[in-house]
């Protein structure tokens, strides 16, 4: 079964009065249970592609199904509900809410899904335990190191048990060792049965964790996803 099934995706932007083709007929499949890395130079359309896959942006043409659901066909309300329930996010700059503790940050997706706060905090405590931050529940983001903040972000992306986890440069702000640990964690915790992971990255140090790597350039997949992770990258 495919977690993500995209066909002929196109997306245009208006920038400075000119039309920019961000996606030019992208075909992409991500099977369930796989970690796919999306690599390519800056501006090649990686972020646009994951935004479309996550239902944050609508494509202009083509179809994109996530676990068989065509997000573009959903109403705004249903799309929000689908995103809240099925998709987890890990961002390059963590994007933790600075005024919430680690535990509260990790509980946010559950609260968005309408789970009562005590239950959400309990679930957040458990997931933070799993990512090794059980002792830092009440720490504010500013009191955590970069790696710890990213682990809180990972806990937040997993707490509501989503089926697709979308990560944008999860290790680029981390040193090598921390990056490796974060990737081990992501791969270990996220790839439970029925889940899939898509990671946008420039960081070739983590390519070894990928099941498949898709290379993008100029708004398209230039090299089909390979089952053999490349050890070096031109990017």
């Amino acid at each position: 079964m495919m977690a993500v099934h995209c066909r002929n995706l196109t997306k245009r932007y208006q920038a400075g009065g000119q039309e920019v083709m961000a996606l030019r007929g992208v075909h992409l499949d991500i099977p369930v249970g796989q970690l796919m890395m999306l690599v390519g130079p800056s501006g090649c359309g990686k972020t646009t592609l994951i935004s479309v896959i996550a239902g944050i942006l609508d494509q202009d043409e083509g179809t994109c199904e996530v676990y068989g659901v065509d997000l573009k066909s959903l109403s705004d309300r249903d799309k929000l509900a689908f995103r809240a329930k099925n998709i987890g996010f890990v961002f390059q700059s963590y994007n933790l809410l600075p005024s919430l503790t680690a535990q509260e940050n990790a509980a946010v997706p559950l609260i968005i899904n309408g789970v009562k706060r005590p239950l959400a905090l309990q679930a957040a405590r458990e997931i933070l335990d799993r990512v090794g931050l059980g002792q830092r529940l009440t720490s504010m983001p500013s009191q955590l190191s970069g790696g710890q903040q990213q682990r809180v972000a990972i806990a937040r992306s997993l707490v509501h048990d989503p089926r697709l986890i979308v990560c944008d440069e999860p290790t680029s702000a981390l040193d090598h060792d921390t990056g490796q640990r974060v990737m081990e964690l992501l791969k270990g915790v996220a790839l439970d049965a029925g889940k899939a992971l898509i990671i946008v990255t420039h960081d070739e140090r983590i390519f070894e964790f990928a099941d498949t790597i898709a290379h993008m350039d100029d708004g398209n997949i230039v090299k089909s996803p390979s089952l053999q992770p490349t050890s070096t990258s031109p990017y």
């Binding site: 942006l57 809240a84 998709i87 994007n95 809410l97 005024s99 944008d168």
Partner: protein
């Protein structure tokens, strides 16, 4: 999500305090200035309020407010007494007479002459002495503000000695002895109020053909006051007002013919505008700084409705706190000024008025921010 909204709001301590300060300032100005204004306006008819016994005030039709005395002939009193429905009618003198103090200084006083037999129209409460003491020769009763302030005499060391029972005054060259100190409400003009009998007041007053200022009327039981005022007017050609009607006449005169409402209105408007500017700008800046956080929530599935409620909740919280602090400060101000000459009256309507003002400021502040958040593109979370 309410919890997250509150934590976001209070997390940025400086902005949070800045917004509250702006709203506190607005709320303070929007309650304190009108409270002084209401106090001042209430003083304009405080003399009418203090004379509690009569139902109706009869006067020359050209009278515009309580201090605008246009004297009547004494015979008008008998005509009013002849109107059907009048239980009793008593004369009242009200006029300005200069008092000479024991140190030689002069002070203009508001002299009130009460009916010699009944003393109707006297002060509402006596602090020292009795109202009946006015029947003694040359006697006068002075209000406590006049006695303690303007009629007090400064000694050689600069200390002010209040006027006391037994002290002497000279009213328009007439000897007057203080037999009592009365508790009255401060008047708009803040002159000392001196009570005496009607006949004595007429002697003290400068020579004029007519000296009857007002006729105080009590209606017979079960007689409708509005009907009786119409009867008095139609039978005598004079103006007759119920106590409330005369208060309104006086109040409306000050509202229309003085710059007081405009001056206070400008202060209140400025308070509103400055408060709105500070709170609105700070709240908007707070939202801008948290735009990324809102985008994260949006990306994770929080809808525009949820974010709208979060912003409204944040605006409500700062609004309630700012309003409470402003109203509290105004109350403290009023309490601190309670024994001074400053007029201050804080009715519940002012709480509603300033509450609506603060709510408007919050809505304006939230409105600007809401627009920004509603049009927010959640894809921005992928940018560093």
């Amino acid at each position: 999500m309410s919890y997250i909204a509150i934590r976001m709001l209070m997390g940025d301590r400086s902005k949070y305090l800045g917004i509250i300060m702006g709203l506190t300032f607005a709320s303070l100005i929007m309650t304190q200035q009108p409270a002084i204004f209401v106090g001042l306006m209430t003083r304009s008819f405080s003399f009418i309020s203090d004379v509690g016994l009569p139902d109706i005030w009869v006067m020359d039709p050209k009278v515009q407010f309580v201090d605008d005395v246009k004297p009547l002939q004494d015979t008008e009193l008998y005509r009013v007494r002849g109107v059907s429905g009048v239980d009793w009618a008593m004369p009242l003198y009200k006029g300005l007479i200069k008092a000479r103090l024991t140190n030689g200084n002069f002070q203009t006083c508001n002299v009130i002459g009460l009916d010699d037999a009944t003393l109707i129209g006297g002060p509402p409460e006596m602090i020292e002495g009795r109202l009946e003491d006015l029947r003694r020769a040359d006697s006068v009763i002075v209000d406590q503000y006049g006695a303690n302030e303007k009629l007090g005499v400064k000694g050689p060391d600069g200390t002010l000695s209040p006027l006391k029972v037994g002290d002497l005054l000279e009213l328009n060259d007439h000897r007057a002895i203080v037999v009592g100190i009365a508790k009255t409400t401060r008047t708009f003009q803040s002159q000392p109020v001196v009570y005496t009998t009607y006949s004595r007041a007429k002697n003290m007053a400068p020579r004029e053909r007519k000296l009857l200022s007002f006729i105080l009327v009590k209606a017979k039981p079960s007689v409708a006051l509005e009907e009786l005022t119409r009867n008095i007017e139609s039978h005598t050609g004079l103006a007759a007002y119920t106590q409330k009607g005369f208060q309104e006449l006086t109040y409306n005169y000050y509202m229309k013919n003085t710059g007081i409402p405009i001056n206070f209105g400008i202060s209140v408007a400025l308070g509103f505008l400055v408060g709105a500017a500070i709170a609105g700008q700070t709240f908007y800046s707070f939202t801008l700084e948290n735009l990324r956080q809102f985008a994260v929530l949006k990306a994770m599935g929080a809808g525009n409705g949820t974010l709208l409620m979060m912003i409204l909740l944040q605006a409500s919280i700062v609004g309630i706190i700012g309003y409470g602090l402003g109203v509290g400060l105004t109350s403290v101000f009023g309490w601190a000024m309670r024994n001074t000459i400053l007029s201050f009256k804080f009715p519940w309507q002012l709480l509603v008025f300033s509450g609506v003002g603060v709510m408007l400021i919050c809505l304006i502040a939230a409105g600007i921010s809401i627009r920004k958040v509603m049009t927010l593109e959640p894809a921005m979370v992928f940018k560093t």
